[in-house]
């Protein structure tokens, strides 16, 4: 019975542990480059550790700001525009796009973070090619995170412009309501 328990526990641990895959891309490194990777990789891993920590901080700051913009500004403004019986289709569309992009950002960052973690934890002296591949994959995923941030920034600006476009109409409607 104990044997079954132990086997069951080990199986559970294996199933539930997070998986990180390195891209199965073929990396062509010369033997001289492999030697360089082996010689430099421990120092690079220490640099990656610092980058990883700073990235986490950026992720937290950006995430907080995105959440605030979406829930404390976009949603209430859409609600007020709707209550004022003005056309808020474009604003709502931008908000929906923003929330979808925010989810993409979370997913892309998660993917990137796991690849970075894999590269940091890898025994790079024993697996130099795998280390190089992981780093190359992290670079690609980091680029995707950057693009996602740029996309979100674009939507933040677009939303402001759309609000500005409605401003005069909304103020006029409000003044008419007062009279």
């Amino acid at each position: 019975m104990y044997k079954r328990l132990v086997i069951g526990s080990v199986l559970l641990a294996v199933i539930s542990s997070p998986f990180v895959y390195a891209d199965d891309q073929t990396t062509n490194l010369t033997s001289a480059q492999i030697a360089l990777v082996k010689a430099n990789c421990l120092g690079v891993q220490s640099t990656l550790n610092r980058i990883h920590a700073n990235d986490a901080l950026s992720r937290v700051h950006l995430g907080q700001e995105y959440e605030t913009i979406s829930t404390k500004f976009m949603a209430p403004m859409n609600s007020r525009i709707a209550l004022a019986k003005l056309d808020n289709v474009e604003l709502t569309k931008t908000t929906v796009d923003f929330n979808a992009k925010l989810n993409d950002f979370r997913d892309l960052y998660k993917q990137y973070e796991q690849t970075m973690l894999h590269a940091i934890q890898l025994k790079c002296v024993d697996q130099p090619v795998d280390f190089y591949s992981s780093l190359a994959q992290a670079q690609t995923e980091r680029q995707a995170v950057r693009q996602s941030i740029a996309g979100l920034a674009g939507l933040v600006t677009q939303y402001k412009q759309q609000v500005d476009g409605l401003r005069n109409k909304a103020i006029a409607a409000s003044q008419q309501g007062d009279q």
Binding site: G8, L36, A53, Y109, I149, T157
Partner: protein, 125 residues
């Protein structure tokens, strides 16, 4: 209440199955197994939900923990009320402050993890 003799107790024990005799041990093993499974499920959710990525209390993040600020600003635009000039001015001010934090930020430069630059000092030969 009738007293139970030692002889009766011994014969009762002899009639017990292996499972009944080791009930306490099984209880402990069961509790440990259930706890283990619950912890595994919790860790799985923690890792897959994205909570791990924003948890700066993890080991390895001590250097940046102090720099992380809690979002204590109570800036928010009311979802009801008149949409007059004051309302728009108030919205513009608060929105601009938060937009400034996310528009034009130069984060996640892919060059920072360029394998060729990091490992070979420059482009590959």
């Amino acid at each position: 209440m009738a007293a139970v003799s030692m002889e009766e107790l011994r014969s009762d024990a002899a009639r017990m199955t292996v499972w009944q005799r080791h009930r306490f041990l099984l209880l402990i093993a069961g509790v440990i197994t259930i706890s283990f499974v619950m912890v595994m499920i919790g860790m799985y959710i923690y890792n897959t939900s994205g909570a791990a990525q924003v948890d700066l209390s993890r080991p390895g993040y001590q250097s940046v923990q102090k720099e992380a600020s809690r979002d204590t600003t109570d800036d928010s635009f009311a979802s009801t009320g008149k949409l007059d000039k004051e309302a728009f001015d108030s919205f513009d001010n608060m929105y601009a402050e938060h937009a400034r934090q996310v528009v034009g930020v130069d984060s996640f430069d892919p060059k920072a993890v360029d394998p060729d630059a990091l490992l070979f000092g420059a482009g590959t030969n």
